[in-house]
Symmetry: C2
Amino acid sequence: MTPRRRGRPAGGSAGDTRARLIAAAREQFAARGFAAASVRSIAAAAGVDPSLVNHHFGSKQGLLVATMDLPVDPIEKISAVVAAGPDGLGVRLVRTFLETWDPHRDTFSALIRTGVTSPDDAPAVEVARSILIRLLTDAVGDRLKASLIVAQILGLATARYIVRLDPVATATLDDVVGAYGRSIQAIVDG
Amino acid sequence: MTPRRRGRPAGGSAGDTRARLIAAAREQFAARGFAAASVRSIAAAAGVDPSLVNHHFGSKQGLLVATMDLPVDPIEKISAVVAAGPDGLGVRLVRTFLETWDPHRDTFSALIRTGVTSPDDAPAVEVARSILIRLLTDAVGDRLKASLIVAQILGLATARYIVRLDPVATATLDDVVGAYGRSIQAIVDG
């Protein structure tokens, strides 16, 4: 589900290149962490030109998302939610988040556990930080607000998917969306 | 800092009894989990009458709090915040939470990590669930609302103390209290 761009790949088919880059990135992100593993060194390990990272994945973050083999592309989802502007953002954000992750709660749970227990080498946290906060900052015009919204989403995910706090964990999606969406909107509007 | 009640202890000094109960509880909570370890079996291991658990700790939950050796008594703190009623509850809750835990963020962080990675045998999560939700349910009159507020607090704590999400982690207490308190209040009032 990561964006694929058209163009001529170097060194084998586009599919081969993608697969080699993903394999190399997975190794280097695990060994050095997301920040320290450079696009250049990942491309070198994959035996392709560094420009092919942007070509296939849009950015190093896009490559990271691809290594996670997620059932959805979080960047695409969040971009769509944010693009509709600050009115009703809270409800849209919570609804999209739960519609996306309720069916994949175990995957999400594993990501968050890694992020919480080993924040230093958990690329998922860096995705949350850099992508989500950047997009939300654009939408609400304030980085503190954006990061507080991320904190709220993190709390909802932890309560619903990880510690399974009742009744957050068992409530219908609609019941959660109403109340929690309103509370996020209070930060958006504040 | 756990509540001590006056009265005549059985079997040694009150301090001895407390210490023996705490040691026995720590062992049994760790071995069996909070729910499965009974007051009766803890008292038996400590060689004292089961009634002394309530006498010294108020409840099995109070005993659990004592085993954690926390720098503050969360039950006492939350009770005071909730007792003042739903008006302004959001701001009071966030302010009290941060004033309490900002100076002890490492302790809090360790508790939450255990809760998130091993929810089944993390008594801290059961404290959050049973004590905090019960008190908040009394205050806001709705268990779903109460549990969503707990989710928000959990998110704030995770962002500020564990993954240290900027600028949530570095913002002043007052900056966080304003915005986040408003968002919790939106659930209280909703």
